[in-house]
């Protein structure tokens, strides 16, 4: 952990190479593009938008950064219908109501009013939590493309100034800027305004060499040759234009499965038996069987 002064950007890293080395220590093998983008996000204090297909390690990246920086991960999971009350803050009105009912007789309304709009009755949601924290923080805004346009506007406001105005309490300004990572599966195009404020990183399936390294680091005990075979076959499957291309996690699962079954060689029969680990749709299975001329699974 570097010594970031208060209010400064969270300079977690000293160079792109430093990013590669330190993320590597916690088991995240970053590509040069990823390392550069993460490094720049940390020195420039800008949010980083990571876009790419499901299962290429976008969320893992945030976790890994939080781990190496010794920061806490605050996660905002986006979904359709997410609103300010879930993303930013909300007043705990039930507690407020109790407080009003329990107010001693004769207490002035003004006093009660001042009483119930205090920190005690404030429910902070991820965005506000991340801004108010004084320790190093990684804010993960997951699947930002799932939100509605209004929430995007809210994010815009929060991410450009790192401050939030609560009418009853005043403006809360970030004590130190969190490291912000937004992820998106690109199911819809995020607004230009939001993109302009972020650094952009496209994460794609890794090269076979990198994926092999990932498999070897995640699955101890796997033979080099087997790892090689697994990643090559997975690359071929991704090339087939299947409905749901195998993610990195599925590649790892596959390697683990093969290891557990005690296989050392990935031949047609083995693939056919274990195809369910990487392909999750019946139609994908059919396609893979046909294109790779695999034998039918002996059920």
């Amino acid at each position: 952990m570097t010594t970031a002064t208060i209010d400064a950007s969270p300079a977690f890293f000293s160079s792109p190479q430093d990013v590669v080395d330190r993320l590597g220590e916690v088991g995240y093998l970053a590509s040069p593009a990823t390392a550069t983008a993460v490094y720049l996000a940390s020195v420039l204090g800008k949010p980083l938008l990571a876009e790419g297909p499901a299962g290429v390690g976008k969320t893992e990246l945030a976790k890994a950064v939080a781990k190496v920086a010794g920061a806490e991960l605050v996660r905002l999971q986006c979904y359709e219908g997410l609103d300010e009350a879930r993303a930013l803050y909300e007043w705990n009105y039930r507690k407020q109501l109790l407080r009003i009912q329990a107010a001693p007789d004769g207490q002035e309304w003004d006093a009660t009013h001042d009483d119930i709009f205090t920190d005690e009755f404030l429910l902070t949601r991820p965005l506000l939590t991340a801004i108010r924290r004084e320790d190093p923080t990684v804010l993960l805004i997951d699947e930002a493309d799932k939100t509605d346009v209004e929430v995007e506007g809210l994010l815009l406001e929060v991410l450009s100034d790192f401050q939030v105005t609560i009418p009853e309490l005043g403006t809360v300004k970030a004590a130190r800027r969190p490291f912000v990572l937004l992820t998106s599966n690109a199911t819809r195009e995020l607004s230009e305004a939001l993109k302009r404020r972020c650094l952009y990183l496209h994460l794609d399936y890794p090269s076979t060499e990198r994926e092999k390294e990932i498999v070897r680091s995640q699955v101890p005990g796997v033979e080099d040759a087997l790892a090689e075979q697994v990643v090559r076959v997975v690359a071929t499957l991704r090339d087939l234009d299947v409905k749901k291309a195998p993610s990195i996690a599925e590649t790892i699962d596959w390697a683990r499965t093969l290891l557990a079954l005690g296989r050392t060689d990935l031949d047609e029969a083995t693939i056919s038996e274990t195809l369910g680990v990487v392909l999750k749709h019946a139609t994908d299975h059919e396609r893979a069987r046909r294109e790779l001329s695999l034998p039918d699974a002996a059920e």
């Binding site: 720049l40 819809r188 195009e189 496209h202």
Partner: protein
């Protein structure tokens, strides 16, 4: 200062190529570059990419321009030394370089165009290339690319404003002489080992790997040729001609094979949205009817005061989607796209019925089974579906009539109707009233027209007639398609 100028030139070139680079992003890029080691070219590339490129579709254009503005080497680079050893077709002088053109040279210079290349040198080179492709080593490949362009890529030709007899570099020359694609079978044999079973999984896997590497080699040759030409001509000129328009602006009617493949990947998410948009009941408020029981239960938390009303979830609305697609020759390219879109919609959305027509109409829903190869389906569709009647020329009027006659129950009050075609009906009758009847019956009706709007109504186009009945949208490229989908909400 020189660096700043280069930065500004680079940003201008990006803007000309269709990337939306704002001033603030350009400033971000400058401060980003200040934080990195400029000697690391790939880091510089990624730093620029992170700050300036906010859409993956623009990445290819970005990389092309980056290679032009921030070249890997100057002059002959490493290849020069190698070529000097041979000293055969190296005439010593570097000469001026003209823009690489794949077009035929000026008359009189025809022999110079196909300079003889030493057959032995070529064979040796192809062997080296095979080894490098087999090993998959990037640095080796990079050196070979430089060598290939220096040795096999030269042409002598004349372009306006250049001195006759100047040297130039051409990608076509390299590819014609080196022919990397023909190395495939040798490479496959080497990778699989002799006597191996030549089809099935192992081959498929090896083929995928090799194909990717050969494509990589070809891309590197492209970049190298551009770099050498840019050195002489100046970056602006070459940047302008080297970059293809980004995918979302490529006209469906002029898309080539690669574009179509890329379009296909892009269409899937769009179709999902299109499908959901068409089905979505407008959501006023959060939910449906008041749920009295839950409201009272919830009110227990607030001492019996019902502070929040609870509602029953709305019943999801089911909508059928009916697609009517013109698959005639005049819109062949668009038809490919139409079929892609039909496919994508079918996968996303179970309740789709698709009909294809030229001058007759047939239901093609069954040909669009998910999981089936798109190529096969198209083949089946064109061979088996009865979409042509006599002339084989588009006849919208007849197609609509036959549609209503044969499938009277296809369109109902829950149906969204989507017509895809250019509305060019070869002067046949139009059956407006039939379409109007369909549009009335359906919940929504839209017409997507792949033709430029200012051509509508010209010649045999009945776009204006049909537009009065069904809202018609110009959808010539991906960005227009996504706009349409966006506006549906």
């Amino acid at each position: 200062m020189a660096l700043l100028d280069r930065h500004l030139g680079f940003v201008t070139a990006l803007r000309e190529a269709g990337l939306l680079v704002s001033v603030s992003e350009s400033l971000d890029a400058v401060s980003a570059v200040g934080h990195i080691d400029l000697a690391e070219r790939e880091t510089l590339r990624e730093a620029y990419a992170a700050t300036l490129v906010k859409r993956q579709q623009h990445r290819d254009a970005f990389d092309t321009i980056f290679d032009i503005y921030f070249p890997t080497a100057v002059g002959d680079g490493l290849a020069h030394q190698l070529a000097a050893e041979d000293a055969e077709d190296d005439d010593g002088a570097d000469g001026a370089i003209t823009e690489a053109g794949d077009e035929a040279p000026a008359p009189g210079l025809a022999d110079a165009w196909q300079q003889p290349v030493d057959a032995n040198a070529l064979r040796d080179f192809r062997e080296e290339l095979s080894d490098a492709l087999l090993a998959g080593d990037e640095t080796d490949l990079g050196a070979l690319v430089q060598e290939a362009v220096a040795r096999f890529g030269q042409i002598q030709g004349r372009r306006p404003g250049s001195v006759p007899g100047q040297q130039s570099w051409s990608r076509l020359n390299v590819m014609q002489r080196v022919q990397p694609q023909t190395l495939m079978s040798g490479l496959l044999a080497a990778m699989l080992g002799v006597g191996q079973d030549r089809d099935g999984l192992a081959e498929q896997v090896a083929r995928t790997t090799l194909r990717a590497r050969i494509a990589r080699f070809e891309r590197m040759v492209d970049a190298e040729v551009r770099r050498r030409v840019a050195e002489e001509l100046g970056e602006e000129r070459i940047a302008r001609s080297a970059v293809r328009p980004p995918l979302e602006r490529i006209d469906f009617l002029s898309a080539n094979k690669d574009d179509l493949a890329a379009l296909r990947r892009e269409i899937y998410p769009l179709s999902r949205r299109l499908a959901t948009r068409l089905v979505q009941e407008q959501r006023h408020g959060r939910s449906g009817q008041l749920d009295f029981r839950r409201t009272i239960r919830e009110s227990m938390q607030t001492g019996g005061v019902p502070m929040m009303t609870m509602h029953k979830p709305r019943r999801p609305h089911r909508t059928d989607l009916v697609l009517l697609c013109d698959v005639s020759g005049s819109v062949r390219q668009f038809a490919q796209f139409t079929i892609l879109l039909m496919f994508a919609l079918k996968e996303q959305f179970g309740r789709v019925r698709a009909f294809a027509f030229v001058d007759d109409i047939d239901e093609v829903t069954d040909y669009l089974q998910p999981g089936q190869g798109i190529g096969e389906s198209v083949m089946q569709l064109t061979q088996q579906a009865r979409v042509t009647w006599v002339t084989g020329r588009t006849h919208y009027g007849r197609a609509f009539e036959k549609f209503v006659e044969r499938y009277p129950d296809a369109v109902g009050p829950k149906t969204s109707l989507l017509v895809l075609g250019d509305a060019r009906s070869n002067y046949g009758y139009l059956s407006e009233e039939v379409l109007a009847g369909l549009a009335d019956e359906a919940r929504h009706a839209y017409w997507l027209n792949p033709e430029r709007e200012n051509l509508w109504g010209t010649g045999d186009s009945a776009a204006f007639t049909y537009r009065r009945i069904v809202p018609m949208v110009e959808v010539r490229n991906l960005s227009q398609l996504s706009e349409f989908v966006h506006d549906l909400a």
